[in-house]
């Protein structure tokens, strides 16, 4: 029974680790995009003034 538990623990650990890795990288990139867009907008306004 402990082997069965160990095997399914491996499935869930690796699946969650992979999903967590994707979602954390996505969040970081989305924040980066927001700040870059803000910087671009600020520069555009600066040029038009």
């Amino acid at each position: 029974m402990s082997y069965l538990f160990a095997a399914y623990a491996v499935f869930w650990t690796l699946t969650f680790a992979f999903v967590f890795s994707i979602s954390s990288r996505q969040r970081r990139l989305e924040k980066e995009i927001e700040s870059l867009q803000r910087a671009l907008e600020a520069e555009r306004q600066h040029v038009s003034e």
Binding site: M1, R25, L29, L36
Partner: protein, 234 residues
Amino acid sequence: MNRGLRWRDLLNVLSGVMMIAALYLVFLYAPREATMGDVQRIFYFHVASAWVGFFAFFVTLLAGIGYLRTRTRASDIVGLSSAEIGVTFTAMAVISGSIWAKPTWNAWWPWLQEPRLILVTILLLIYLAYFMLRAFLEDEEQKARFAAVYGIVAFAGVPVTFMSIHWWQRLHPIVFEKQGAGLTQPMLGTFMFCLLTFTVLYFSLLLHRSRLASLADEVQELTQRLQTGPGGRK
């Protein structure tokens, strides 16, 4: 709401619901195997993981062919994303197989008695080298082209690994033979459902991983625009 988000949401929910149903079938519906006992239940997720691994590498092959024909960034993204999923699920199959081997063959890793263990390890190393190749190349077009060719050639390892248990017939059980599957009807139904569940999970992960690559592209593009400035200055 855009179409990509709807598909991602739909596949997220579907894979979650199917995964719960698969666990129910594996632990409560499928009967206890007479010889191996409960440890046989590892088989359902072990084979499904291996299936997703091999299928993911096949998609990397198709994406590689697609890239060489069209030179589109989307093909390169799909190839990269699928290879990453393939390595994760193949690693899952290898580790769970080793856990199953201990009570069944009395050894964690009897690689001298079972050629598939050697072949699947080589396959993992081949696809890890795919990421190393991408990491070493700086020019984006060259990276995508080399990765596409590598993804096509690397796939040769998949049929060899798959067929190894038929060619050498050592320790690894062969479930599907010409005479049919060596499983009872509830076991076969559970097994097929697990394969379907993992396939849906694969497509869900592929969409998320591909979006990640698209976001990285967007960051690169915005950074370049910011460096160039609105007037096109350097």
